[in-house]
């Protein structure tokens, strides 16, 4: 028994990502046609060359027909997956395993979400019926509970804490401002961020990720075949996925300053990839900044900062685009937007661009310093009851 990973056995050889927007003129079908055709073009293959598909969407369609119908796929296997906000990553993980198993030569992972058509404010996906005893607490409210707990545990006063989360929003907006695919392409002053209307707890509107529509996709092949498609593939180093027992919510010892699911999935991924010091070894990380406070806690759960030191590192600029370890250089969920099923693949898309030196004027400097690994971390659910995905990809096979 054990988690062994499939390091260097499969590669990404093509990716595509639509702009994340309020796509009033495009539906799920059009977004899927956009991302899939861009991706096959990027890999230089024909759609019919793809042997199997994994489609991730949380609530924008049921069954593989959601993909096969708009693209008129010719009797190919299409799996449809859902795993909360980690849905896109889950599509990617399963496609990788299918190729690694030898079952298929070329597989595609596609993520899509159409959130804006329902006309609701904030994230609104259909609930599952039941006995009606679930308290109606919104996502920002659930995540906002991390704030006071973190601040109290580490002696951060209210104003300092607000400065920390404000800086995370400011950084991610600054990164997104440079990115033509991002939903919000504007730098925002710290004053505007910190004075924005409160949504829940200490979280204001600018502490919340963008609700948007979008799609992203990746083509995966066995590593030995990768150079048939591209001169610079991305090797999949680690894929880890954890669903927590959701027992922290009943646990009187749990203090709301950590996602154990993230800690476990990060540990597993680092072990698979052979990483001992992520902060020194990674060129970049895309993490699940659904709310600014989430990114703060993730810095510690991922081992990018010591426990209790994440807030200081944020203020010191450690995770800025030109910092020691760039985090969310594409703008993150915060300013790139968060169409649920597409977000995990969007994170990989940034690794695809940055690690291979194709990010243009957004190119991060850590690549020049010889760093070759990128990480994605994708969370689904909320504090105490969540799933976490971590992947590591790199430009070279490991020694």
């Amino acid at each position: 028994m054990g988690s062994h990973g499939i390091r260097d056995r499969v590669c990404i050889v093509g990716m595509g990502c639509t702009p994340f927007r309020e796509h009033w003129a495009k539906g799920v079908d059009e977004l899927l046609v956009d991302s899939v055709t861009d991706t096959v073009a990027d890999a230089g293959v024909a759609l019919d060359d793809i042997d199997a598909f994994w489609l991730g969407t949380m609530a924008s369609g049921n069954s593989g027909i959601t993909l096969s119908k708009p693209l008129k796929l010719d009797y190919k296997p299409v799996s449809r997956l859902e795993n909360y906000c980690a849905t896109g990553s889950e599509a990617f993980r399963n496609a990788c395993y299918a190729v690694a198993s030898g079952a298929y030569d070329l597989a595609m992972a596609v993520g899509v979400e159409k959130l804006k058509d329902n006309g609701f404010s904030g994230l609104a996906v259909g609930g599952i019926g039941g006995d009606g005893t679930q308290a109606s607490i919104t996502a920002p409210a659930l995540f906002s509970m991390l704030g006071p707990a973190y601040a109290k545990k580490y002696g951060v006063d209210e104003q300092e804490f607000k400065d920390v989360i404000t800086r995370i929003a400011w950084k991610n907006h600054r990164n997104g401002a440079l990115n033509p695919r991002a939903q919000f392409r504007k730098e925002v002053d710290k004053d505007v961020i910190s004075n924005s209307p409160l949504v829940a707890g200490a979280l204001g509107i600018f502490d919340c990720s963008g609700v948007s529509d979008g799609s992203a996709a990746a083509i995966i092949c066995r590593a030995e075949d990768a150079h048939k498609y591209t001169d610079n593939p991305l090797y999949v180093k680690a894929l880890s996925f954890v669903a927590g027992p959701a027992s922290q919510q009943m646990d009187q010892d749990w203090d709301y300053t950590s996602f154990e699911e993230v800690v476990r999935s990060a540990r597993d991924a680092y072990q698979q990839a052979g990483i001992s010091d992520p902060r020194m070894e990674l060129a970049m990380a895309e993490v699940h900044d659904c709310f600014t406070v989430t990114e703060l806690v993730l810095m510690e759960d991922m081992g990018f900062a010591e426990r209790g030191m994440g807030w200081k590192e944020v203020l010191a600029g450690t995770f800025d685009r030109d910092g020691e370890l760039p985090v969310n250089p594409d703008g993150g969920l915060k300013s790139f937007g968060h169409p649920i099923g597409a977000s995990g693949l969007r994170m990989l898309f940034e690794c695809w661009l940055q690690l291979r030196g194709n990010a243009g004027d957004r190119q991060i400097k850590s690549i020049d310093a010889g760093r070759k690994l990128g990480l994605t971390q994708n969370l689904g659910g909320g504090p105490g009851e969540c799933v976490s995905f971590v992947s590591v990809v790199g430009t070279e096979p490991s020694a």
């Binding site: 019926g129 006995d131 005893t133 607490i137 027992s247 009187q252």
Partner: protein, 468 residues
Amino acid sequence: MVGIVSYGVYLPYFRLKREAIGAALGSPAGRGTRSVASYDEDATTMGVEAARAALRPTDVAPSWLLFATSAPTYLDKTNANAIHAALDLDSSAGAYDMVGSVRSGVGALRSALATHSSTLAVLSDVRTGNPGGADERDGGDGAVAILCGREGVIAEYIGGASATDEFLERWRRPGDAASHVWEERFGEDVYVPLAEQAWNDALKNTGLVASEIDHLVLTGTHPRSIRAFARSMGARPEAFVDDLSAVVGNTGTAHPGLLLATALEKAEPGQIIAVVVLADGAEVLFFKATDAIAAYRPAKSVTEQIPTTNDTLDYQKFLSWRGFLRREPPRRPDPVAPEAPPSHRHKSWKFSFTGSTCEACGKRHLPPQDVCAGCRAVRQMRPERMADVEATIVTFTIDRLAYSENPPNVAAVIDFDGGGRYRCELTDVDPSEVAIGGRVAMSFRRLFESNGIVNYHWKARPMRTGGA
């Protein structure tokens, strides 16, 4: 001996100042306040709270439950069953509604006294009238539960009388927001003779004379007749029990029980209490306090509940809670209505707030689990009723996005005394007073209404000095 064994009173947290009505409508509306059921309360939830209070000082489990209200949540479906479930009564105990009219309140009490087993009469009401009207101004919301039986009696029922007549004085059709009343001098002409008849019959039946009454409760739906009859009863002026109109208002179906509770709080062994109710006729009941009343302590007295409240409620908010002011709904999906089969499967969780405790390691779970979150033992759980266990706030948040009829929503993570953690909404709460370490108690509430289904469950409410 048959009589009252225990009683419990519930007055809601909110009070509306009558001057707030006057200020909004530009007409004088008198002084004082009226009690107001919050947006997440109804006659059923207040009935549960009163019934919990009534059962706390006693070990007696009622074998019947009678629920009286003029404001039932459901027709066709028995509202008393939700109270029965919330109290975790045995399924062999009967539960019945006496629903629709104010008179059903005193009727439930009389029926409870007439049964041979221990019967809990739950009298609860939400009183509403058209904006600016007397019913709105003088009404009140609240509940009382009176446990009647033969053992441990604190006030013996020593007799009474009824007078019933058919006349059109006050009426409301199902679904109507407010009642209609006839010209009030006609009512006086009918009520006073009925009251005199019942009063004289009751005195004759019991051999009492009016001047022997120590505590006289006189209430009903027709103030003019009540004032007129009071003058002719022959009772000592100091015997009249304050009608709580200055602070609470007339709680309709619940009011005879509420005033009886205030009388029981003051009564000494051997004293005589009279309850006289003018509602579609006249009812008179006489009680004699027993020696046991000296040692009896209610869970929360009316006196304690009167001051611990919030009287800053806006009249506009009151109107929107009562459905007279329709506010723009948020751009959010409607909540998903609870489904009947899971609501029934999880009845003990949903209604009586029963979690589970692992028999292998002792860990408490809310909601109940099959597999222990601590030691992973499978199906070694015993039910653990948590409704009466107090808790402490671990962390909380003010949720400004969630839809609420009393925004902002406050959600909290709470740790129960003796173990168990739960995340829930807080109610009857001032967001500025919530703090980590604050003490809370559970309260039965409506979480929301969807598809015509009222979704009942539990919220936590801050514990304040003096109770309430």
